[in-house]
């Protein structure tokens, strides 16, 4: 009998880090600095500037990861989602970069292209482009390119396959272990 554990599936459960989560804001700030957007970066880590979440970054530069996180939010903007949901969603690029030098270069070049486009528009970097509409314009101009399509295509699964995202959007997930919905509101609509 072939069984497959949900936890073996490569994108179903992206484990958020880490030891860093136990650190206080002061401890994190000792190791890094706040940058554009709402991020803090230091050696080998990316965190919220509030220290509400933190991520180990193994292969890519933390600033590159921060740009990917912002890009992810701009591709699929949900204003009620915390940054950590997007950070978890793009973590896989760091994992892949650690195993494949060509992939690492591909992602780094992609982020360079974002920053270059930002500078062409008079901004210091993509991350420091303050208004969403300006960042979206940058993305729109490159939406048929491989870098954009790779990030977007990955997000469709890595963002929307997180249980925290399901909860935020009102999807209750697996139901067999709860006895299905026959006694949990399968027909409870009351406004028709």
């Amino acid at each position: 009998m072939n069984t497959i554990s949900e936890k073996q599936h490569p994108v179903a459960f992206v484990q958020p880090a880490s030891e860093l989560m136990k650190m206080s804001r002061r401890q994190l700030l000792k190791r890094g600095a706040v940058i554009g957007g709402s991020f803090m970066v230091g050696g080998g880590f990316l965190a919220a500037s509030s220290a509400s979440w933190a991520l180990e970054v193994k292969s890519l530069e933390p600033q590159v990861m921060a740009t990917l996180v912002q890009m992810a939010r701009d591709v699929y903007p949900h204003d009620r989602f915390g940054d950590e949901l997007y950070a978890v969603a793009v973590k896989g690029h760091d994992d892949s970069a650690a195993e494949d030098k060509q992939y690492k270069a591909f992602i780094e070049d992609g982020v360079v292209s974002l920053d270059t486009a930002a500078r062409e528009r008079g901004q210091a970097s993509y991350l420091q482009t303050g208004w969403e509409s300006d960042r979206v314009a940058i993305l729109k101009a490159m939406e048929s390119e491989e870098f954009f399509q790779t990030v977007r295509g990955g997000l469709v699964v890595s963002l929307y396959n997180q249980e925290a995202v399901w909860a935020a959007l009102g999807y209750e997930g697996s139901s067999f272990e709860h006895g299905g919905y026959i006694k949990r509101g399968f027909d409870d609509i009351n406004w028709l």
């Binding site: 072939n2 497959i4 599936h9 591709v75 469709v156 999807y171 067999f176 609509i189």
Partner: protein, 522 residues
């Protein structure tokens, strides 16, 4: 002789595939005392293995072996290597189907006569009539436990159905109910009743939905006359000097290529793999592939006119709670050319979870327009539109230059919409939107066709040998001991979900094969 059978045993019937067609045929023949070897490319997954989680379930069950696509259908752009969402496992696509069990309408079996000449369409009448099929529809409905037949009560309506019904009533539709479903509304046939899990597409963990995996196959195996070989990937069918098929070559999990000898071969690998196998079986004697004197092998591929409409409301619906296909409106399934197209379509509720909604609501879409829709998920209702698409000779399965892991040419699926398909889809989108608007939808979303779950027509039935591939019993015109037992047989698609018809044809085909074998004609 009882199972397991020797590979040199040429007295056995070899069936390729264990889905609605192959699985039913395997059991029916085994019950008649006929020795059967069923070769299944996938593994054996049962309710305890199924996963209430869309992507892991897809990894577990879906056919993801390489295929290529071409044509103007959007699937070729968005899902270039996934023309179809079907199952690679014992049970075939009865593992993940929704359970909708509808009979063809009489006029649909005479589509050419009824619809007349439709330019660009390769319409043809079936070589069988509804009257000939009806006794087998009766048997299939009893076998599968279809609700609203045989005294079996209809399933209760979930939230998604209630929205559809309210809209149907407002628009004056008269034929709206919770469907004729092969899902137990009560315990029946040693299987549990539906608990409204909401993961019908991921395999029914209650076993309430009929699937050959845990009905026909174990019943057949219990007779001692059926041997199922899992993880047996068929490569080709061999024939002897007289032109009769003589055996089936497959590769097993250990990588060995094995030929199982056969008295009769029945292909039931669904409508992309079945013609591919016959084309890959080309030989000096049959340079165009087996059973292909008409040139129609692989041609006339149909996937039904499909599309979806989702709607957002200002209050919650929770459409994902409960059966996926929770209800149906059949008023538009009639043939009424005053609407601007021939043939008709059904409207059936549909729900996807967040993971699949993100992938299929608007493939390639992004930005706030996309997320505004996703943010409304809790307040969404949805329906799937499924109707008769036109067979076109240019639509179909051919062999690609690409090869698979067994070094065999893979299938390319070419599809262009016919103007009739487009006109029907647009009408269906309008009606779907109207239903939801009438109940207060604040936003409606037309969704393009998904990778095809209904795949039909590529080895079609015909009265005349030069117009199709098989006769009214699914027997090849060219080779008497070669049969087709899956939806490839369909001469036309009708408006109805195909599974009930596939099962009925298999029951009828089993009788015919038994007669032919008794008479020693095959």
């Amino acid at each position: 002789m009882t199972a397991p059978f020797d590979v040199y045993d040429n007295s056995v019937v070899v069936i390729i595939g264990t889905g609605a067609g192959g699985g039913t045929l395997a059991n029916e023949l085994a019950q008649k005392g006929i020795s059967v070897v069923a070769l299944e490319a996938g593994g054996r997954h049962l309710p305890q293995d199924y996963l209430n989680n869309e992507w892991p379930s897809f990894s577990q069950l879906a056919w993801t072996d390489m295929r290529t696509t071409s044509g103007d259908w959007r699937v070729a752009k968005d899902f270039a290597n996934l023309p179809a969402w079907i199952v690679k496992a014992v049970g075939g696509s009865t593992t993940h189907w929704a359970g909708a069990s509808l009979r063809f309408q009489e006029h649909e079996l005479r589509a050419k006569t009824e619809y007349g000449d439709v330019e660009g369409a390769n319409l043809l009448d079936w070589p069988i009539s509804l009257g000939e099929l009806e006794p087998y529809y009766d048997k299939a409905e009893y076998k599968m436990g279809v609700t609203r037949t045989n005294g079996i009560p209809g399933l209760p309506g979930n939230n998604n159905f209630k929205v559809m019904k309210a809209g149907a009533d407002k628009l004056g539709y008269k034929e709206c109910h919770t469907g004729r479903m092969a899902i137990n509304s009560q315990t029946r046939d040693n299987r549990a009743a539906c608990q409204q899990l909401g993961f019908c597409f991921q395999g029914c963990k209650m076993g309430a939905k009929w699937s050959t995996a845990y009905t026909e196959i174990p019943s057949g195996e219990a007779t001692g006359n059926l041997e199922v070989r899992e993880n047996a990937h068929v490569l080709k069918v061999n024939h002897d000097d007289s032109g009769k098929v003589s055996g089936v070559v497959y590769q097993d999990l250990d990588g060995y290529q094995i030929e199982q000898k056969a008295r009769v071969v029945c292909v039931a690998g669904n409508s992309i793999e079945s013609p591919r196998i016959l084309l890959n079986s080309a030989s000096t004697q049959f340079p165009d592939g087996l059973a292909n004197s008409s040139g129609q092998v692989g041609k006339n591929y149909m996937r039904h006119m499909t599309g979806s409409v989702y709607a957002a409301f200002d209050k919650p619906v929770h459409m994902y709670r409960g059966t996926t296909m929770a209800g149906i409106i059949s008023d538009e399934a009639k043939h009424d050319p005053s609407r601007g197209f021939v043939g008709g379509y059904e409207m059936e509720t549909l729900s996807l979870g967040i993971p699949f909604m993100a992938a299929f609501l608007n493939p390639g879409g992004w930005g706030r327009e996309f997320t505004a829709a996703m943010d409304m998920y809790e307040n969404m209702a949805g329906m799937w539109l499924v109707g008769e698409d036109m067979p076109q000779e240019s639509n179909g399965v051919t062999l690609s230059d690409q090869k698979d892991q067994f070094d065999m040419p893979v299938a390319n699926v070419h599809f262009d919409d016919h103007p009739n398909d487009i006109a029907m889809r647009n009408h269906a989108y309008q009606q779907g939107m109207a239903i939801f608007d009438s109940v207060g939808a604040t936003q409606t979303y037309p969704t393009p066709p998904y990778p095809s779950t209904h795949n039909l027509g590529t080895l079609r039935m015909s009265a005349k040998a030069d117009e199709g591939v098989v006769n009214g019993f699914g027997q090849s015109h060219d080779i008497a001991n070669l049969f087709v037992s899956d939806g490839s047989q369909f001469t036309t698609g009708g408006a109805e979900n195909p599974t009930l018809t596939i099962v009925s044809l298999a029951i009828r085909q089993a009788e015919y094969i038994e007669n032919q074998m008794t008479e020693k004609s095959i």
